[in-house]
Amino acid sequence: MDVTVAEYIRRTVLKIPRDEIKTMLQKWGFLSETQLQTINFHQIKENISQDVVQLCEENSADIKQAAVLDIIYNHIYPNKRVWSVYQMNKTGEETEFFDLTDFKKKFKRRLRSALKNVTINFREYEDNAVWIRIAWGTPYTKPNQYKTSYVVYHSQTPYVFISVSVLKSNLPLLCQALVVASNYHDIREMELRSHSLNSLKDIVFKRYSQNFQTYYPRPLQERNMAPESGDLRIIQENRNEKERIQRVNQEVFGDGPQPKLEFAQYKLETMFKSDPKMDVLDEKEPFRCLVKFSSPHLLESLKSLAPAGMADAPLSPLLTCIPQKARNYFKIREKKGFFPGSFVSP
C-alpha cells in the first residue's frame, strides 16, 4: 500500500471523535467485521489509527477507498467546512430524467479532459443527494489529497453546494464540469454562505418554516393560548404589546426552527446624511462601510430580538428577508425610486 495512502487514512481516522470511529469504519465497509473486532477502540486515537492503517495494509487499500472514508467523514460532519451555494440556469423546457450513471460519466470526462491529475469520488445518499469529492493536482503533479473540494448536488434541482478549500483557481473548471454533467447552461455563485449545509439546503429548497395563512386548523394555534403559568399575583402590564410582538414575529419567522446561518453582511454604499449645519461629507461621496451581524445562530437571535425587548417589531425587512431572498451578503446603494429606504442590489 502506498505510503501516502497510509498516512492519509491515518490522518482521517485521527479527525474522527473516538466514540464514532467504529461506526464510521463500519459504514465504510472496507474492513470486515472480524477485522474491526481485532481493534481496541478504547485505546488512544493515535494507536487506533495505527491499527486501522495496519488492517488497511492487509487489504491493500488504494486512494479511491481512502477517499470514500473521507467522504463519509465529511458527510457526517459537514459543518466543519464553509459551504457556498451556486445556481444553475437553463433555457430548455424538456423534462429532466437525471440518470445518475450518465451524470457521473459526463462529470468525470469533462473534468479529466481539462486536468488529468484529479481524484474524483462519488457517493449517493438516500435524499437524492450526490456527494462528489475532488482532490486537485496540477498538470505536472499528482492530486494532493489534502486539497479537496466537495460538491453536493440534488438531482433535478438548479442548486449546487460547493465547499472549496484552498485552490480557488480550479473553481471555474469544477463549475463547467457540473453544468455539463447536469445538462444546464450556466452557473453563478449566490450570495449565500454558511457552515451549516443543511440550513443552506433548507433555504434554497424552501424547506424552512414559512408561515402560510391557511384555513387548515393548526394544532399550534392552541399552544399560543396556553394558560399563563405561575403566580397570579404577577400582572402583565404590557400584555397587549407582548402579544402583538409575538404575532408579528410569528408572521415573519414562522413557527418552526430557523435555518442556521452564522452571519449576515451588509455593504453600504450610501451617502452619509448629516445635519446640514455640520458639513461633514454631506452628499459629496458615498460613505463606505460594512455592517456584519455574527451569531452562532443568526436567524434565531433575530427572531428573539423583539420578544426580548431589544428591538421594535416588526424588524427591518433587510434582516427578515434573508431566507426568502436566499442571501446573507447584501449591497445597499442609494435609493433611486419611489420606495423609502435603500435599494438592495440583486
Binding site: K206, T214, Y215, P217
Partner: protein, 276 residues
C-alpha cells in the same frame, strides 16, 4: 457697562426661550393625555355595555325556566364552530383550498395517493397588479416557473389544476418508490437508483422460477410528470437465461406500465407462492 448689560439681556432671552419650550412641551403632553382619556372612556363604555349584556343574559337564565330543548347560546356557538371546522376540513381534503390574504390569496395544495394523504404545499399569491407568486413551499424540482409562465396570468384555475397534477403525480411516484424500498427490500438486489422527481427508477430484482432465482433489471421512465405510471419500461434478464424468462420479462414490463409498482410486486409474490 455695555457688556454686562448685553449678557443680562442674553440670559433673559435664553430663559424666555427655555420657558417657552417648556410650555410647548406641557401643551403637547396635555393634548396627548386628553386623547388618551378619550380612548379610555370609549373602552370603558364598550366594556360597560358588554357587562350589561352579560348580566341581562344571566338574569334571563335565572328568571326563566331553562328549556332543555332550546340550546343555550354557548352550545349554539360550539356547534357553529364545529361545523365551520368540518367545512374547512372538507375543503382541505378536496386537495386545493385557499384563503384570502391582505395582498392576495394563499393556496394550499394537498396531495394524496390511493387513499393516503401525503404532503401539503403552499403558494402565497399577490393579486394586486398582475398575479405574482410571493412565497411558496413547492419543491424546487417541480417545474413551477414553467407552469406559472404558461397559465398564472391567464387562467389561475388551470394553473392550480396543472400544478396539483404535478404534485400529486410526484407524491404518487415517490410513494411507490418508498413502498418498493420498504416492503420489498428483500427482492431488490443492491440499491434502487432514483432521483428527486422519482421519474427514473433503475433496479435489479429477483424472480424465482422452478425453485431457482434469476436476476432481472428494470428501468422505469416516467415521461409524463403528471402521471404516476411509467411511459417507458425496459425489463431485461441475463443473456443466458431460459426463453421462458424472456417471456416473463415482457410480461413484467407490461405490468409495470399498467399497475402501481408495489402492487406489481405484490402480485409477483402471490404468483410465485401459487406456483410453488
Amino acid at each position: 457697562g455695555v457688556f454686562t448689560h448685553l449678557e443680562m439681556l442674553e440670559a433673559r432671552a435664553h430663559e424666555a426661550a427655555v420657558k417657552q419650550e417648556e410650555t410647548e412641551q406641557q401643551e403637547e403632553k396635555l393634548a396627548r393625555l386628553k386623547a388618551r382619556v378619550q380612548e379610555l372612556r370609549l373602552q370603558r363604555d364598550e366594556l360597560r355595555a358588554k357587562v350589561d349584556l352579560q348580566q341581562k343574559g344571566q338574569l334571563g337564565k335565572e328568571g326563566v325556566v331553562s328549556d332543555p330543548a332550546q340550546p343555550s347560546a354557548r352550545t349554539v356557538l360550539e356547534w357553529k364552530i364545529k361545523s365551520v371546522k368540518a367545512m374547512l376540513q372538507v375543503f382541505y381534503l378536496t386537495g386545493i383550498s385557499g384563503k384570502l390574504t391582505k395582498r392576495g390569496v394563499c393556496f394550499c395544495i394537498s396531495t394524496a395517493y390511493e387513499g393516503t394523504y401525503l404532503d401539503s404545499y403552499h403558494l402565497d399569491l399577490l393579486t394586486k397588479a398582475e398575479v405574482q407568486i410571493h412565497r411558496h413551499s413547492v419543491p424546487i424540482f417541480i417545474p413551477l416557473e414553467q407552469i406559472a409562465k404558461k397559465y398564472l396570468q391567464t387562467d389561475i384555475r388551470r394553473f392550480l389544476s396543472v400544478l396539483s397534477d404535478h404534485l400529486n403525480a410526484y407524491a404518487g411516484r415517490r410513494y411507490q418508490a418508498d413502498q418498493l424500498q420498504g416492503r420489498f427490500s428483500n427482492r431488490i438486489e443492491g440499491t434502487l437508483q432514483r432521483n428527486s422527481l422519482c421519474n427514473l427508477l433503475v433496479f435489479n430484482y429477483n424472480v424465482s422460477s422452478k425453485s431457482k432465482t434469476f436476476p432481472f433489471n428494470a428501468r422505469l421512465l416516467y415521461g409524463d410528470l403528471c402521471c404516476s405510471l411509467p411511459t417507458e419500461v425496459t425489463v431485461s434478464c441475463t443473456p443466458d437465461a431460459p426463453a421462458s424468462l424472456a417471456e416473463m420479462a415482457a410480461a413484467h414490463s407490461d405490468l409495470f406500465r399498467r399497475v402501481a409498482l408495489h402492487k406489481a410486486f405484490c402480485s409477483f409474490s402471490s404468483a410465485e407462492e401459487s406456483v410453488d
